[in-house]
Amino acid sequence: MARSLTPDTHIPQNLQPTTWNPAKEARRVPDESLHYQSIREIGDRLRRRELSAVELTRATLERTERLNGTLNAFITIMAEKAMAQAEAADAALAAGTDLGPLHGVPISLKDLYQTAGVRTTGGSKILADWVPDTDATTTRLLNEAGAVVTGKNNLHEFAFGATNENPHYGPTRNPWNTAHIPGGSSGGSAAAVVAGLGWMSMGSDTGGSIRLPAALCGAVGIKPTYGLVSRAGVLPLSWSQDHCGPLTRTVEDAAISLNAVAGYDPADPASAKHPAQDYTAGLTGGVTGLRVGMLREYLGANVNPEIVAAVRAAALALEHLGARTEEISVPAVNQSDGAGMAISYSEAASIHEQWLRTNRDDYGADVLDRLTHAEKLTAVQYLKGQRARRVLVDRFIALFNTIDVLVTPSCPILAPTIPESRGNAPRAQLLGFTRLFNVLGLPAVSVPCGVSASGLPIGLQLIGRPFDDAGILRAAYAYEQDAGWHTRRPAVQ
């Protein structure tokens, strides 16, 4: 239970800010719009002492408690630990120690990220009581950046699904219409940031699990270049296709978050020795002369017409902003589905091999179904996927000699209702436009680009060259600021 600050709370003299008034701090209640300010705006308010991290965290926790009954975005709320982190953040700021833009800012983590002393369930029954004694690398980096972790987000069990209907912890609901799925597997993360329950949530993406929920919930979600963000201490699904990245409400917030977590980690065998980079620098550089390709194969008859219209309008907007857009064709994408499937299924079966022997009955039905298919795949089929991967990587590297950014819809369908999402057709479609880019390892970001007539968000996916994460963020930022979809808020009761 959080401790309240009162006029009697003793703060050592050397840690008190010069203008701090404990009585005033204890009574002031932040207004609702607070929860939708940007990381930069909140940081400015913290540094001007208009707001304390304790106050901010308390307000976030109260909102989370109030809305989580509806959204089910969190499996575990870390109230006590979060308040302690907030107090430490305030003390550090008062002492003149500024850890950067995330200092004192409430965030959350998909419940795949190890958190020392706090259970990490993987959204599963098997790990329901697992309390790690070490943090994931990303958890540690965010703690070192002064972020305040308020809780662990709900997800599709073991990240092996796209609906976030979790049989052990309940379904997460889409903040725009709670009858609909938020998408998965980082559905809790997306629902949390869009509903103002924190400024960022770290998700994971093996076939689309950051970008899909970002698209269906009207958030920003980036799957960075493979190897850019450490996977150490994050429960794996597919070693060669797992990517870690942030979900936020704006592109700038995503860039700020990426700054905190990107970088070489010797604890992750796939970590890339890529030079450190500031993903916020150049964000406002614009798109003049940028060569943008629209992937024709992802704008066909199988795509919801409202989505096609929104994506075409987004491309036109980029053109008006100075980009050069053209429709391009890569026929190989029509044959590529099997690559991601062969690789991710086989690797998942290997990861779960022991539990499938000892805890088979503890899996949810849909995840067990997928793992059973995966167990039956042969080594030849797995290698076919890896061979296809080489062909596809070569084709797309060649493509990026002629364009700078590829744009597609993030998803061919609108968010289905929870019952509809159990059908084979929707489940097959949800990851249809994202999975390929996990096979390729290219950076890909989803940003809001419209709303359907039924009020459901539509996402635009921008893909770039290896390690051009800054480039796709710059293009996404230019579009976002022009279009303004990021300013919409769901009316969650």
Binding site: T70, I77, S240, P269, A272, Q335, G338, H373, K376, K384
Partner: protein, 71 residues
């Protein structure tokens, strides 16, 4: 001690109304459904041959990507 989040017990006014379909959880597929789905998975993987993994004479001309292909 961190607390588990409050289970979803929102009132009807704030949560989507339950329908008959909502009462049916995700269920395990029948054997026929599983076999049909697996056949689809096999066929999807077989379509990768169209990327030219083997030449016309059947010789394998593409080797697998390295797991850490960006290193």
């Amino acid at each position: 001690m961190e607390q588990a989040a409050t289970p979803p017990t929102a009132s009807p006014a704030t949560q989507a109304p339950m329908t008959a379909s909502d009462d049916n959880p995700i269920s395990a597929p029948t054997t026929d459904e599983f076999d049909a789905a697996h056949a689809t998975i096999r066929a999807t993987i077989e379509r990768l041959e169209g990327l030219g993994l083997n030449n016309e004479g059947g010789r394998a001309v593409v080797e697998p990507a390295s797991v850490f292909h960006w290193q």
